[in-house]
């Protein structure tokens, strides 16, 4: 296989979409349960002056399901590797990485491996670990909660194999089929969806935080059912060059519920010079 077809395969695997006018790259990566559409209210506002990179994580959205490898994606490392491969395939430098929820840890892992590729990490509703490890750390969930979630996924995805799978297997389904897929809340292959949910909720990336050398913005939401407030503060406290901001947006998806506010904070952090960045060394 030659060089260009490998690159092509990576682009196809993660359904990478590139738009925008600028030279500087902003990469938006979605979290659990959805795909790049999560950024549809925020990403377009950056197209005027940035190169905007959107992708679907493996097993999500329109990623190439045939490329899904249960071993590779049994933990966050595999997904983080994908991000580095996309960056390499597009030959990007000084990437501003904007991640939501679990994907902020993918960005963090990737930035630790290849810090020279990243200029800033922006973490929307982030958590380094969703599980409770009392008494020192309360991520919000016990193992039983996660088991119950996986069971819930089983129930809701039950019809997937017989009804939706035949549609999803076709990489580029017809518009009607695509509509059909998009309009179903369980349009992801349950096997890949569960793999991602497990990789997310059983991960504990707390020990990595001090190794992050890239400047970070931690954006904590109000009343986020998935991320208790102390978690955002924990991140800010343990990531060397981090700034912290608490959004008025409630819930776990401020980029959907308060896209204007969210986009404004992202933009101002990107344009802030390093000198102005609130940083705290520990």
């Amino acid at each position: 296989m030659n060089q260009s077809s490998i690159l092509d395969r990576i682009i196809r695997r993660n359904n990478v979409c590139i738009s925008g006018q600028g030279d500087r790259a902003v990469m938006f990566v979605h979290g659990l349960g959805c795909d790049q559409r999560m950024w549809r209210y925020v990403a377009p506002t950056f197209e005027v002056d940035f190169k905007v990179i959107l992708m679907d994580l493996s097993g999500c959205g329109r990623s190439d399901l045939s490329a899904f490898d249960l071993d590779r994606y049994s933990n966050l490392e595999g997904y983080a590797q994908d991000i580095l491969e996309v960056i390499a395939a597009l030959d990007l430098q000084d990437v501003v990485f904007v991640g939501h929820s679990v994907s902020i840890m993918l960005g963090a892992i990737a930035s630790i491996r290849q810090p020279e590729k990243f200029s800033k990490l922006i973490m929307v509703a982030p958590s380094p670990c969703y599980l409770n490890y009392p008494p020192d750390y309360l991520g919000g969930f016990d193992r039983e909660d996660i088991e119950e979630l996986l069971d819930l996924m089983d129930k809701n995805y039950m019809g997937w194999a017989s009804f939706l799978a035949p549609l999803a297997i076709d990489y580029c389904p017809s518009p009607e089929l695509a509509q059909e897929l998009e309009s179903s809340f369980c349009s992801t292959d349950p096997i890949t969806a569960k793999a991602f949910a497990k990789a997310t909720f059983y991960a504990d990336c707390r020990s990595l935080l001090p190794e992050i050398v890239t400047p970070c913005l931690v954006m904590q939401c109000s009343e986020d059912a998935l991320v208790p407030e102390p978690v955002g503060e924990y991140l800010h406290h343990h990531i060397p060059k981090s700034s912290y901001i608490k959004l008025t947006a409630t819930g776990h998806c401020p980029h959907l519920s308060q896209p204007v506010e969210t986009a404004a904070f992202i933009r101002s952090y990107i344009s802030a010079s390093m000198a102005n960045t609130v940083s705290r060394q520990i």
């Binding site: 349960g33 959805c34 069971d151 819930l152 809701n156 059912a225 204007v260």
Partner: protein
């Protein structure tokens, strides 16, 4: 809220984009075990266990936001006493009618003007369905595990067969080589019977090597095998070599017409002819010398029919259907054979997407026929 909905046999909630419950009907409030006023104004998350909260945030909200209503969602309600009620819910955007008339803009337009979108949810309890589906999920998981096990054991069986074939190959080669040395250096010391035995040793070991080679080839192709062009003339020559001795001693003749090239797996087709020729020899008539006639006819462009005809004892009409069943033995224990020869033939032909059958008259002989795919010309 209309009186009908208030006490309807289903739960009803209206909540805002931020998840705040604006209305709840009495039916649902009763299920939850709290007065309506204690629920209204709270977050919808307060009605869900943590797993449900994650599911709502990660899977349901984005979907509602983008395009679709969410239907038939399984989740559990958390009552005030800590019980879980399995339910099915339909989530609808509450102003869908108004939206439909304005080109369904909501998918692209966030609410930037401070107004908030409202969602209506209808909930029904699904205790029994839940139990059934639990059983189904379990059964599915069991079936999946069995399939995985089966695949694993098939794979290891295949690997084992491959390994054995590999291991057999070199001793067989050695036997063949030893026979050659024996023939080169000591043939003069042997009488005619000895020379004859030596020749047979040579040809038998060569045939064994051929089979092991084919077995390895077949194993490497996977169980299904890939069809390739196979010259049936060559196949019949290889297959009949096995019987050269018994045919000579019984005075049998083999007549072979012009045979086509077909799409097939060579080793299987060799086995097919070996079984049919062996069968003809086994069931020859004591009253006359055996004549085996192998002919082919073209059915159409894509298919040909092959006949293997003998003048043996024949098969009674009532058994002609059964002869291809595994372990069917027409002639009791009088004749050697495991009873799987014709079953193997059937399997091979079916594996080639063909059909197999027999026409036979008692004391006149049998005519086995099967169809194969001709090569495209």
């Amino acid at each position: 809220m209309s009186d009908i909905l208030e006490f309807a046999p289903c739960g009803y909630i209206r909540f805002s984009e931020t998840g705040i419950i604006e209305r709840i009907n009495s039916t649902l409030a009763n299920w939850i075990g709290a007065p309506k006023h204690a629920i209204e104004g709270q977050s919808i998350q307060s009605l869900l266990p943590k797993a449900g909260q994650i599911f709502l945030q990660s899977y349901i909200f984005p979907q509602l936001k983008f395009s679709a209503d969410v239907e038939e969602c399984h989740f559990k309600l958390l009552t005030r006493s800590g019980e879980r009620i399995p339910v099915l819910g339909n989530f609808y955007w509450s102003e869908r009618e108004a939206c439909a008339s304005s080109n369904d803009d909501r998918t692209n337009q966030p609410q930037l003007d401070g107004s908030t979108t409202l969602y209506d949810v209808i909930i029904i309890r699904a205790h029994k369905r839940h139990q059934l589906e639990n059983a189904l999920v379990l059964a599915q998981q069991k079936a999946d595990a069995t399939v995985r096990e089966l695949k694993k054991s098939n794979d290891s069986l295949g690997r084992f067969a491959n390994m054995v074939a590999h291991d057999l190959k070199s001793p067989l080669r050695n036997i063949n080589r030893l026979a050659e040395y024996l023939s080169d250096d000591y043939e003069d010391l042997l009488d005619d019977d000895g020379k004859d035995l030596l020749k047979k040793l040579d040809s038998t070991s060569q045939q064994a090597i051929y089979f092991v080679d084919k077995l390895l080839e077949y194993g490497s192709l996977g169980a299904k095998g890939t069809l390739e062009e196979v010259d049936l003339n060559r196949v019949v020559t290889i297959a009949s070599e096995t019987f050269s001795e018994s045919m000579a001693t019984t005075g049998a003749t083999l007549q072979i017409g012009r045979l086509p090239t077909v799409m097939g797996i060579e080793i299987q087709l060799v086995q097919l002819f070996q079984n049919l020729i062996g069968n003809a020899i086994k069931y020859r008539s004591p009253d006359r010398s055996l004549i085996i006639d192998i002919q082919a006819t073209q059915i159409d462009e894509k298919e040909c029919k092959i006949w293997v005809k003998d003048n043996g004892v024949g098969i009674p009409a009532q058994y002609q259907q059964d002869v291809f069943d595994i372990l069917f033995r027409l002639h009791g224990k009088d004749l050697e054979g495991a009873g799987i020869g014709l079953a193997t033939c059937k399997w091979i032909v079916q594996n080639h997407l063909g059909t197999i059958g027999v026409e036979s008259n008692i004391d006149e002989g049998s005519s086995f026929y099967f169809t194969l795919r001709s090569i495209d010309r």
